[in-house]
Amino acid sequence: MRERLSSALETGAAWALGLFWLAPLLYAIWTAFHPAAYATHFDVTAPLTLENFARAWGAAPFARYFLNTTLIVAMIVGAQCVLCTLAAFAFARFTFRGRDLLFALVLIQLMISPEILAVVNYRTVRALGSVDTLLGVALPYLASAFGIFLLRQAFLQVPKDLEEAARLEGCGTLGVLWRVYVPLARPIYLAYGLVQVSYHWNNFLWPLIVTNSVETRPLTVGLSVFASSDQGIDWSVITAATLMTSGPLLVGFLLFQRQFVQSFMRAGIK
């Protein structure tokens, strides 16, 4: 009896928390899909509309922002996968002087991300002539201590026999890396990739500092410009724009929930 009461209480608490967690999002969805008159007025018979999305899409160059974000994310995640693979392999399977010291130095970047050093990094990017370019947004993130760390962990697990076999077959260093290590670390790549895609899709501060025009602004910065410009307080349109910009990640998450959750788990377990 007491067991059943406590389990009912637990279920209640869990769902109350769940509801609280969903409420802001549900509220936003309600507002975005109904005419402005119903924004704060709940009525089951309220007509559904896509009007708000159309107006948001027309009011700001969101298509361009989508393109910019996609290009930035592709550039960063692509470069990270290649560069971190190479560096992680060196740390995992080579012995050279100063290796451990160098690895410790690399790990400093886990704590100190580029936006904390924005003042000096902005100067560097300006000196490279990359202010207000997509490359400028991506540059400080192209190498990642986090990626090096994760992949090194994965590569250390690979049995050395496999590598020796590949070497006997005539593979060089890069061949071994490509044929043996990379395939065996595939789940780690997936996990790391998903985490990084969602991180950089959502990144705001550094792009805000470095970009200055429609041609370079990612979605997050575009959305903040849109919401704080002269849209007044037409919440229906702003909410529609908000959902639109988070849409791809949200839909991706709902479709591949398991992979997402497992990826975040895998990337977090050290």
């Binding site: 769902w15 969903l22 190479l86 003042v119 190498a143 006997l168 959502n202 805000l208 959305l223």
Partner: protein, 310 residues
């Protein structure tokens, strides 16, 4: 004297093997490392040193180039009440959001890990804020908080409450921002607890049940100690985030009203990129770096002790 043929063959083979197998030179290693090391040094290590040096120099102005000023930037900073306000706010923000996020994350993980009805849906509900951009989250909550109009005030009106300007009042603005942070972060931390909970062997629970231990006793004596390493990991992440995540402050309050929601990194942004005062901004950055450095040191010491304990 001639060696037997097969011996010669074996010698040749081992030479070939030696040539094939451990051909790992440090030159190769450095080539592999080069691109990452150059980029990390350019955007992390060199800037740390450059920030420190710059903090002893004045801000270059049109008719007056940068010159050495010693500790002037730091003295100005200490004399500036906004710096102290931002620092205090940041500490309140950290002390308020971190324990709340961790406690809620643990509760979520325990809920989702038990045999509740609809736990897949619950897990989704808890985790969804994690995949949303902070800017989008801020927009959604901005609407939520709108005085007289947002859901919060409508609920208050339902119970006869009056309208509250959550983000516009000195007393409530920082708290309102903190709620958003917890909402966004707890689901993310839940994942790590969930992963750890799933690794606790089920026979421990069976053994405890045979001993007649209550669920609470089991949690306190078995689950919680086993979760210690994850808690430490989450704690470190939460502290870093508390000093780094400021996107929603841009969107919701812009540091106001009257600096009530100004925190260190936001202050650095304002000084560095609105007032373009490089000297002051680098001095502030050094404070932030010092805090993060101390944190890293603390983690190192605690993690070191943990290893001895095991």
């Amino acid at each position: 004297m001639r060696r037997p043929a097969h011996e010669e063959e074996r010698a040749g083979k081992s030479v070939r093997l030696a040539r094939l197998l451990p051909r790992r030179t440090s030159v190769e290693a450095w080539l592999l490392l080069l691109p990452s090391v150059v980029l990390l040094a350019t955007f992390a290590h060199v800037p740390i040193v450059a920030t420190l040096i710059d903090s002893f120099y004045s801000t270059p102005r049109r008719n007056r180039p940068s010159h050495f000023v010693g500790l002037d930037n730091y003295q100005d900073m200490i004399a500036d009440p906004i710096f102290w306000k931002a620092l205090t706010n940041n500490l309140i923000y950290a002390l308020g959001t971190i324990p709340a996020s961790i406690a809620i994350a643990l509760a979520m993980a325990l809920f989702v890990n038990s045999r509740l009805p609809g736990r897949a849906l619950l897990r989704m509900a808890y985790f969804t804020p994690t995949v949303l951009p902070m800017i989008a989250v801020a927009n959604i909550w901005l609407f939520f908080y709108t005085p007289g109009y947002g859901l919060l005030d409508q609920i208050a009106a339902l119970f006869g409450g009056h309208t509250t300007n959550w983000l516009g009042s000195q007393q409530t603005a920082l708290g309102a921002i903190m709620v958003v942070t917890v909402w966004k972060e707890a689901g993310f931390f839940m994942i790590f607890y969930l992963a750890a909970l799933q690794q606790i062997p089920p026979d421990l629970r069976e053994a405890a049940a045979i001993e007649g231990a209550s669920r609470f006793a089991f949690f306190r004596r078995v689950t919680w100690p086993l979760l210690m390493p994850v808690t430490l990991f989450i704690l470190v992440n939460a502290v870093i985030n508390a000093f780094r995540t400021i996107d929603h402050i841009f969107m919701m309050t812009g540091g106001g009203p009257d600096n009530a929601t100004n925190v260190l990194l936001f202050h650095i942004y304002e000084v560095g990129f609105k007032f373009w005062d490089q000297g002051a901004a680098t001095a502030l950055t050094i404070v932030l770096l010092a805090i993060l450095g101390l944190l890293a040191l603390a983690q190192f010491v605690i993690a070191g002790r943990k290893v001895h304990y095991q």
